[in-house]
């Protein structure tokens, strides 16, 4: 039994053990999971340089062949391993194709209702401020039904990390128009192509959120080639680090594919992504308060409101 309580009325956390506390970066050693020992049959002198992360369970993911959800989730799991935070991480699964990702990550997981992951994440972080909390959400979940929760968690500067998968379509329900579906893109519910005169325009999430004072970091990355996959991992790691260091809300948007509902092979999907998605959703850093010279989002916000006396009250 634990004697340690969070002191804030939450359930006591179990005693610290293993890699409970964040470790300095760069100390992580890749370790082959127990369930693959026999298969890999490591010989003397051999070492594993890349394998399934510890923050993954041994459950096969539920995604279609070639779906980039698997790549992004591996990056998240690797970051959790490298930061040594599996024991203090709580993930929030969305509604969408990645609804069952609570089975794939080995940290504590909560399944939220459609779009509400930021509200759920907010509360978990408030109950356990020492924990690392991330939500993993698709475009329908984050930018349509959950837009209010998304915007308000961001503007409150909740110290959570949001991994946002933008593949311009609703995958799980079979390929309907999403808030990020491109103009003229054909989906089940835009069968003649998205007509912007009636269906309006796609939402550029990074651009939108970067105007909010609570946001410490917002970057859009891709996962269609090795260089960008590595960049995506760096961005995800930075997003988690900003949370751990209390900088503010962090979001990484990953421009992704949906081969099944786009009606293409995984390879063709990458071509289509490069040709159509990237010009509409340019990659890059949309907000990084540290790069702007501030320690936290709160400092950046205060500087922005320097001329407003009431907003400066309590500072200095």
């Amino acid at each position: 039994m634990s004697t340690q309580t969070s002191g804030r009325g939450g359930a006591p956390a179990t005693p610290a053990a293993g890699n409970a506390a964040p470790k300095p970066a760069g100390r992580h050693v890749v370790q082959l999971p127990e369930y693959q020992r026999e298969l890999v049959d490591l010989q003397p002198g051999e070492r594993v340089v890349a394998c399934r992360p510890h923050a993954f369970t041994d459950v096969q993911n539920s995604y279609c062949p070639g779906c980039t959800h698997g790549i992004v989730q591996r990056l998240v799991a690797e970051v959790i391993d490298e930061l040594g935070i599996e024991g203090i991480t709580v993930g929030i699964a969305p509604v969408g194709c990645s609804v069952t990702c609570y089975d794939f990550f080995s940290c504590d997981m909560i399944e939220a209702s459609h779009g509400r992951a930021p509200a759920v994440a907010t509360a978990v972080k408030r109950v356990h401020p020492e924990d690392v909390v991330f939500s993993y959400q698709g475009d329908g979940d984050l930018a349509s039904i959950g837009m209010a929760e998304t915007v308000h968690a961001a503007t409150r500067g909740e110290k959570i990390t949001v991994i946002f998968i933008n593949n311009a379509i609703y995958g799980m329900t079979g390929g309907q128009m999403a808030p990020t579906t491109l103009p003229n893109q054909v989906t089940q519910t835009s069968p003649y192509g998205r007509d912007v005169s009636t269906a309006g325009y796609p939402v550029r999430v990074c651009e939108l959120l970067s105007t909010l004072d609570g946001v410490a970091y917002a970057e859009r990355v891709s996962c269609d080639n090795l260089k960008d996959i590595r960049a995506a991992k760096r961005a995800i790691k930075k997003a988690f680090e900003y949370q751990i260091e209390g900088v503010g809300y962090s979001l990484v948007e990953v421009v992704s594919t949906c081969p099944t509902n786009w009606g293409m092979t995984p390879q063709q999907s990458f071509d289509w992504l490069r040709e159509n998605m990237l010009p509409y959703y340019p990659l890059g850093v949309y907000r990084d308060v540290r790069a702007e010279g501030f320690a936290t989002a709160a400092e950046a916000a205060a500087a922005r409101a320097a001329a407003c006396p009431i907003a400066q009250k309590g500072r200095e």
């Binding site: 039994m1 309580t5 969070s6 002191g7 804030r8 009325g9 939450g10 359930a11 006591p12 956390a13 179990t14 005693p15 610290a16 053990a17 293993g18 890699n19 409970a20 369970t57 599996e86 024991g87 203090i88 991480t89 709580v90 929030i92 699964a93 609804v99 069952t100 609570y102 089975d103 990550f105 080995s106 940290c107 504590d108 997981m109 909560i110 399944e111 939220a112 209702s113 509400r116 509200a119 759920v120 994440a121 907010t122 509360a123 978990v124 408030r126 109950v127 356990h128 924990d131 209010a148 929760e149 915007v151 308000h152």
Partner: protein, 376 residues
């Protein structure tokens, strides 16, 4: 009920008592959204929580607020949200998910009139919503109906314990009248947070000391979903067997039993007293738990010779359905109510009691003798 350590009575408003008693029950996380007539509750929380290391968070909507309760409950905390009728409708989704994920938490509804934007005056027109259909799917939740400010203090305290014991959301169904009313109250003692029930299922972070916990309501295998629903309904059976609560007043020899909860029970009580003075053998059965409905108390009244039941409500007739189910054809069941924010008067309630008594051929006794009995 709550054991008061000191008998210090204070004069407080119902809404504020709900807040203070929740804090004393160990609630340190409150998520709300402004709506009349529950706003004093949120304002009280906003004032108190920062002083005691708790969290008051004004959510962007009632939907976000209930999902924050979902998150805080998943993380192992005692959490609460409050609203009034239109806002509670928005919470339906989150409450269903809480029931599906077996998460404890307390939802307060300080009712106002409906449907739609309705009005801002007191009402009891969310009885069906609270006891039947606050969200999609097969589920119930315990619903408590206070009728005094003291009972607001006691029941919100109790609601947290019931929520934790059965891993279910619970609701306090109050109304604008009770919320705005000031009465003397003895507040329950503050719970030591360290003594709150352990929640080994909570998502607190594994600390690498256990397998990961998952809080979830999704079951893609039909057999598995059926199994979890059946298990949950076995828990509901236990709740029905042990958690029914009702107060009875002069029911033992009653031929006519008035059934009323919350604010309307206060009026019904006066009417019953008047009816006794006029020689009718009338009693009051006041459900304190609306779900589970106090079927046992209704059965006892029937066994004691009740021939007719009059459900008095501040709506168009909702609880009367449960009275009929509990009576199960063994007696006459009638309804009297006012709606739109209008509170029935004792006089008009008395008229309906007498009309019902006459229609079932109830015996009218010597008025003076009855008065003595009513005065006890």
């Amino acid at each position: 009920m709550a054991q008061a350590t000191d008998e210090k009575r204070v004069l407080m408003k119902g809404n504020e008592v709900l807040a203070e008693s929740a804090i004393r029950a160990g609630c340190r996380f409150f998520f709300g959204y402004p709506i009349t007539p529950q706003t004093e509750l949120a304002a009280y929380m906003a004032k108190r929580m920062p002083k005691i290391g708790g969290t008051y968070l004004q959510a962007e909507s009632e939907i976000a607020a209930i999902n924050m309760v979902y998150g805080a409950a998943a993380a192992g905390a005692r959490a609460m949200t409050s609203s009034s009728s239109p806002g509670v409708s928005l919470k339906g989704e989150g409450v269903s998910y809480m029931a599906g994920a077996d998460l404890p938490g307390v939802i307060i509804n300080v009712e106002r009139g409906g449907p739609g934007l309705g009005g801002i005056q007191p009402s009891q027109s969310d009885y069906w919503q609270a006891t039947r259909a606050l969200g999609h799917g097969d589920f119930f939740m315990p619903v408590f109906a206070p009728s005094t400010v003291q009972e607001m203090a006691d029941l919100v305290y109790h609601a947290f314990d019931v929520a934790d014991e059965y891993r279910t959301p619970t609701m306090i169904l109050a109304d604008g009248l009770l919320g705005q009313m000031m009465e003397p109250v003895v507040l329950p003692p503050a719970r030591d947070l360290a003594d709150l029930p352990a929640k080994p299922w909570a998502t607190t972070g594994t600390r690498m000391a256990r397998r990961h916990n998952v809080v979830n309501s999704l079951y893609l295998t039909p057999e598995e979903l059926e199994r979890t629903n059946v298990e949950r309904f076995e828990r509901y059976d236990r709740i029905r067997a042990t958690e029914q609560r009702a107060e009875t007043y002069l029911v033992d020899d009653a031929e006519v039993v008035v059934v009323a909860f919350g604010a309307s029970s206060r009026i019904a009580r006066s009417a019953v007293k008047k009816a006794r003075e006029r020689g009718w053998r009338v009693g009051l059965l006041r459900p304190v738990t609306l779900w589970p409905f106090p079927v046992d108390a209704v059965q006892a009244a029937l066994d004691g010779g009740a021939r007719a039941f009059l459900s008095v409500e501040m709506n168009m007739g909702q609880m009367v359905d449960d009275v009929r189910l509990a009576v199960n054809g063994r007696a006459e069941v009638a309804f009297y109510g006012r709606t739109g924010g209008i509170i029935p008067t004792p006089a008009e309630t008395l008229e309906h009691i007498e009309a019902l008594a006459r229609s079932v051929g109830a015996t009218r006794r010597d008025a003076d003798a009855a008065t003595t009995k009513a005065g006890e």
